[in-house]
Symmetry: C2
């Protein structure tokens, strides 16, 4: 039984992986992320320290399981879009398809308990790695649709901006806690901001005020 890749989407239930995830979540909440060692996690999970690294490439990976899965699905969605489609609209639609699946129970660990776990700074960096990965996916997609290189300034700017907006939606959604609206609501709003342009979005915001 292969532990599959680190960001596997498939889920053999109650494997070592799951046990480790649960143990980690508990300990992060009890002692904060920073003060929890991998050894403690694997001890509670009843496996050896090395087994941790069979399933996760880094301690912080446990925090982002849900987000990684979402990014995996986005990659698939984008790959399946044929050439010559309206790039932004397709990009948005693909994101919305992925996000519509996400229920309240799928909040990335790092985002839910940012206060409780004292994860603010430590997890920030690892979260940014996800932003970067999503940027890459989007840049590749845009480059393909626009027939430009993926390190073209227009492509990169747009990809980074989109990934940043998506990230903002996740963050605010997670922080809104219980009673939050569906993630797709937040995502739509974030897309609106970058789609119509910051000049109009910000102007509208300040005139309303």
């Amino acid at each position: 039984m292969a532990p599959a890749s680190h960001n596997a989407v498939g889920r053999p239930r109650t494997s070592s992986r799951t046990v480790i995830e649960d143990a980690a979540a508990e300990l992060f909440l009890e002692n904060t992320y920073a003060l929890t060692t991998i050894e403690q996690i694997t001890q509670r999970a009843g496996v050896s320290r090395n087994t941790f690294f069979n399933y996760f490439g880094a301690k912080s990976d446990v925090l982002w399981v849900e987000l990684d899965a979402a990014i995996d699905r986005l990659a698939v969605e984008l790959r399946e879009i044929p050439n010559g489609q309206p790039a932004l609209a397709e990009m948005r639609a693909a994101t919305m398809r992925v996000v519509s699946d996400i229920g309240v129970d799928r909040v990335p660990l790092a985002l839910t308990q940012v206060d409780v776990m004292g994860t603010a700074e430590e997890t920030r960096v690892s979260g940014l790695a996800r932003l970067a990965r999503r940027s890459d996916l989007i840049a590749d997609f845009l480059a393909r649709q626009l027939q430009r290189r993926s390190d073209d300034l227009l492509v990169l700017s747009a990809a980074n901006a989109l990934s940043g907006a998506i990230s903002a939606a996740w963050t605010v959604w997670a922080r809104d806690g219980i009673g939050r609206r569906p993630l797709s609501d937040y995502m739509s709003e974030a897309f609106d901001v970058v789609s119509t342009g910051l000049s109009s979005a910000l102007a509208a915001a300040s005139s309303v005020e």
Copy 2:
């Protein structure tokens, strides 16, 4: 003589700090970033290992000296803008003021020699920390101008998008190598993309093609 803070903007010439920076730059180019240890750096610099940590909080900080300085200056510029100004225009102007100073010799180490140093993956993450710091600055500024909270979705989306676009400009500028145009050119282009909106920017791009 205080080593000042980690991202000091002032420059006491030929202090331990400078010596360390130079030694690090040499070694990164010779042996790549990953294979260079802090011990090697301080050895060549003729100081003790601990002195490194007097000036830098992490090994990767050496890579981002120039960018950190630019972000410091951006922070100052933004702080000095009075309330009630058009947010996006001021933000853009402040960025351009900072960037107009940057000559060809001020390319962040991490960005120039990304190929030579094999820094691609390792430095990516530390670079993202800068993106985040800039996002925070921009979010605070926008929140003040728009009279909203700095974790508001509109504010965060816009801040992330802007920071992402700025990051793209730096990246492409650095990668263009010798013969590149001034950084401000790239920055203008990146701002245009997010200002006018991705829907028009991307539509224009695909119709041109």
